[in-house]
């Protein structure tokens, strides 16, 4: 790859006066064979249009390669996906590639989770208890996290998390973006950070906190004011914890 930054210049020494441009000469010039003399300036100008690529002309390479990978699931799965990540073109980055961003995205998600937990504490609602116990309304207490099981979104937030949790198939523009504030929903199973208490299904954010302070207090409680974004107890089947029962099927790997 020879990329030149400078623009090639005309050789002014070759300025000379040609005769009329006949069809044969024109055809030669169009075919890139202008060495016949007589129309050197014209030939030089035409040659400029096919000058070597300049870096500024190749800035879309990452995006193009990302689209190439996205169109080919096999290469998306085994190829080097770092260039795709570097583009920042989220639309075209397949889920596989997005995982590599884990560093940045998960930091962001962690911050969001922290913020939600903090709000819950400050609010003094029952959510605080949920956060600290890992239990949420309508669910039986579960003593221990299930290893290797990532918390999955249930109900309204399902699609985002479930899509990003499985390998990209046809990523391109249709692929949904990174899950919006769904905490560990987008974390692939097997990622240690994805191992949250299995009981934390309806609300993912609070349930992340308990890993630090698991309390065995098994109580049934209900907040006095039900947060609108939380599924009602009836929406959440009591058995839906580590299995997909009643929820979104787990990502296939």
């Amino acid at each position: 790859m020879s990329v030149r930054d400078e623009t090639p210049e005309l050789d002014l020494a070759r300025l000379d006066g040609p005769g009329r441009l006949d069809d044969a000469t024109a055809e030669r010039l169009l075919a890139g064979d202008g060495g016949d003399g007589g129309h050197d300036i014209l030939a030089a100008v035409l040659a400029l249009t096919t000058a070597p690529a300049r870096p500024a002309e190749l800035t879309g390479e990452h995006a193009a390669l990302t689209a190439f990978r996205a169109a080919r699931p096999s290469t998306a799965a085994r190829g080097d996906i770092r260039p795709a990540v570097a583009t920042g073109d989220r639309r075209a980055v397949p889920a596989e590639a997005r995982r590599v961003r884990r560093g940045g995205v998960s930091r962001l998600l962690t911050a969001k989770v922290g913020a939600v937990a903090a709000l819950a504490v400050l609010g003094g609602s029952g959510l605080t208890l949920a956060a600290s116990t890992g239990h949420l309304p309508g669910q039986r207490p579960v003593p221990a996290p299930v290893s290797g099981t990532s918390v999955r979104p249930v109900g309204s937030t399902g699609p985002a998390g479930s899509t990003s949790g499985r390998p990209a198939r046809s990523g391109l523009p249709g692929a949904p973006g990174v899950p919006r504030g769904t905490g560990p929903a987008g974390t692939p199973a097997g990622d240690p950070r994805g191992q949250a208490p299995a009981g934390g299904q309806p609300a993912r954010q609070p349930s992340r906190a308990p890993s630090a302070a698991p309390s065995p207090k098994p109580t049934n409680w209900f907040p006095t004011v039900w947060p609108s974004w939380l599924p009602k107890p009836s929406d959440s089947p009591p058995t839906g914890r580590t299995s997909p029962t009643g929820g979104v099927p787990p990502p296939r790997h």
Binding site: L10, L30, G60, L65, A67
Partner: protein, 202 residues
Amino acid sequence: MDGAGDPAPDLTATVTAAQGGDEEAFRRLYRLLQPVLVRYLRALVGSEADDVASEAWLQIARDLATFGGDGDDFRGWTATIARHRAMDHLRHQRRRPFVTIPAEELHGLAGDDDTAAKALEEVGTDEAIALIASLPPDQAEAILLRVVMGLDAATTGRILGKRAGAVRTAAYRGLRQLARLLEHPRDEPVTLPGPVALKEVR
């Protein structure tokens, strides 16, 4: 050499490899064809050429598996996609194709030879493209597809919806006009766009 230096290296094997999932092959195709596509597009949509080229590459990547043909066909295929994206873009913007250069911004070369030489000193790839783009649209496009994209008259005709003979005629006419502008500036006052004016249309 990668890039636009050689207008028509054989791409057949590279295209086949890319269709088989070879990412490096696709990268080579990009590096070979993107510069020429974006130069062609610059004549159609001016400063939006980079964006339109990006759109074209998304489609090229997506539809690569459906392409059938050799390396030359692939050139024509990519040019067709780029042209369609450009036309969509113009339709969306309700603009007419091709960059127009305000007459008052054109630099005349009607002076002595020193003036002509001075103007040509500044000429680079972008200026050369803009100079061609200042021709009547059918002539400009015929020249750019043939010279920049390295297509033959028949392929160019298919892209433009014309017969090969019509493409040749338009391209020859355009070249003669360019030759007049470049080689006999005294006969054609106020016609050659100067570098300063051309910066406006990059």
